[in-house]
Symmetry: none
Subunit: 221 residues, 4 copies
Amino acid sequence: MSRATAEKKKRTASKAARRTEPGADKRQLILAAALEEFSQSGFAAARLDDVARRADVAKGTIYLYFKDKEALFQELLRAQISPVIVMLEALLAGGGSQDAVPLRQLALRVADLFVEQVIATRRKDIVRLILTEGPRFPQLAEFYYREVIARGLGAFRARAQRALKNGELKSDTLVQFPQLIVAPALTAIMWKSMFDKFEPLDAKALMKAHIDNLFDREERP
Amino acid sequence: MSRATAEKKKRTASKAARRTEPGADKRQLILAAALEEFSQSGFAAARLDDVARRADVAKGTIYLYFKDKEALFQELLRAQISPVIVMLEALLAGGGSQDAVPLRQLALRVADLFVEQVIATRRKDIVRLILTEGPRFPQLAEFYYREVIARGLGAFRARAQRALKNGELKSDTLVQFPQLIVAPALTAIMWKSMFDKFEPLDAKALMKAHIDNLFDREERP
Amino acid sequence: MSRATAEKKKRTASKAARRTEPGADKRQLILAAALEEFSQSGFAAARLDDVARRADVAKGTIYLYFKDKEALFQELLRAQISPVIVMLEALLAGGGSQDAVPLRQLALRVADLFVEQVIATRRKDIVRLILTEGPRFPQLAEFYYREVIARGLGAFRARAQRALKNGELKSDTLVQFPQLIVAPALTAIMWKSMFDKFEPLDAKALMKAHIDNLFDREERP
Amino acid sequence: MSRATAEKKKRTASKAARRTEPGADKRQLILAAALEEFSQSGFAAARLDDVARRADVAKGTIYLYFKDKEALFQELLRAQISPVIVMLEALLAGGGSQDAVPLRQLALRVADLFVEQVIATRRKDIVRLILTEGPRFPQLAEFYYREVIARGLGAFRARAQRALKNGELKSDTLVQFPQLIVAPALTAIMWKSMFDKFEPLDAKALMKAHIDNLFDREERP
DNA sequence: GATGAATGAGGGTTCATTCAT
DNA sequence: TATGAATGAACCCTCATTCAT
């Protein structure tokens, strides 16, 4: 009871505060609450009741902004992907167009960015949700493949190809399997949500060790 | 009424056929059906009705073998883990006790085994389910960490330590991050269940390339 | 089927009528329907489906007002007890504080009240349910003992004690066994719900005869 | 698992022991177990599974002796009534045919017998069940009314009539309301199953006080 | 007769969705 | 727009009953 009471009080207070918030767009509130609930419980087990409560809106309000539960879910995942795509393209296409930065430096920079901006934040749950619920939402999987995977790996593959040509890379491993570059990142995300309490994982160090592995062999004379 | 009657007849017929099946243990039938349904829909969205139908038993029969939906789910995941553990220990402890086989060979052998026995079979769904539902079932995550992760990585880490001492490994990367060895395997599992239809992935080649990466750098003079 | 159709029509009609009913509080509707169903079938055999239908609400609506079937049951019994307690105390404490009214008159008055307000009404089913289901709901039995039995018999016992002292009563029978005063009332309730159709019982006359019995002996010289 | 295994072993053992019991009539075992379960849970909530376990027979066995759950229930109540009827008639008809024993003595004797043979034993649960479930089983109520109530009260009423004629009784209260004689007995049964743990009731003393009440007034000059 | 695995109808409960206000 | 009471389909689970052995 005390927990509920405390929570209620807090919510009531924040409600008053939020009411007056100027740009407190309901849609954003709902999306934020939905991320929380969906990543906590998964799509099927999440309750719109809880989303509404957390967003501090009425249950019916959700339906003013989203057709149904699935639309909310998919729009949530799509909305959050946009910045990732932008970031991705900025890094790969922009920074790499002239290959001013060596691929290894680029990889390290992206890895750091990914750890800081995704793995260390709530955003990692977006990735988890996509991995987790993707098989149940074919359109989502397809969308994600087209917009993120194909583009991201494609760009990386192109960049690796150039690195291979200009001698920065000695083997074509990364050209054939660009997936290798992200494997430890996915592993880190899964690890953090399941095993981190038993054995914490330093994601940044893991990524660095992995990249060192991929490039050190190449750079030896 | 005619529908019910017709259905009953049909079922009776197919039942008669199956009745004679020799080792068709009900419990196993249910577990197999459950794997199918759970990996298709996830825990929350799977319907026991469908499990029953797929196993060709009545809904109530499930409850003769499992306390409830969650017990069915957890026993499913635990039951399938045992062979993995056995395999794991046989390979690492057994084959590696005298380190007769170089770690690289061992890794390649394990990778092949994992691809053939897990990734290429229905068993990969077990791994997916654990990764996917683990956060919602803390006991399961803990069990899995204790029985599989801690043991597996522990054994691998010990073996890597010895490889480092006897010069087979030049860096301590794998001692610090034994997770690296499995990262591409997880990635392959996720890829296969979401993106394989868009772009098939050769898991075995991926694993080989990864292991080559890890060891080649060490073996250069 | 014709029965169902007929019922549906009736319900639709009455629903339209009820929609406009002013104070038709849903909670009260549900409680009234629940009393009907529970006293007809007992707790275990009563179906919430029927309660809902009788209250003319959807099944889910019940759960907006009551946590579950048991809560509905217990709140039903507790809600109905309050007026009884109030009545009880008004009569015994109020009217008896100065013992202005002889105990016999008081008993007759209470008996009449009980017959009219309880035995002759739907309320007798509340008493039946408590007697009937009490053993299965220990909290309910305790609540009832504390709030009604202990208080009611206690007050009556005190009043009887005074009557004994001031000579109105000659023996201490009622002080020792205040339960005696209510025994015929319980018997009447049971009789009415089982045997009244075979042999009607005049509860008021029964109570009067009983009270005469208890007091006549005392009043003889 | 260990609990289940242990229980199974125990049951198997005791079963072996019972197997050799000579007159261990299955039907009686089942009836005894049924009484236990029905009076603990009521008709609707009692589980035949538990009856079978308690009787140490298989679930199917029950159906060899009783058509269904309701038949078991009704036969249970009817079977147990017979001795009561016999006793009743022996006392009233037999002992009272010549009115050798004064009615008051007879009443006291019956009360004692009832307390000892019914209220103090498992048999009180039979009475409770009849009172409790009667309304749901019209045939049972009718059977009970015809075989027990009508006969018992009839015999008592006849005896009271004679007592009135021969001066043993001064008023016709008991002729009009023979139910009065049993009211405290029913009250005692209800009390014992609900409130006895809060406030124990001396049923025998209660009955005696009640009978004194009924007869003292008559016997005063 | 006796067993107990199997059945499946039935009921309690949840929760996405609607709609009158 | 926003609300939240109301809905009812859907799903888990129980348990009386059956039947092959």
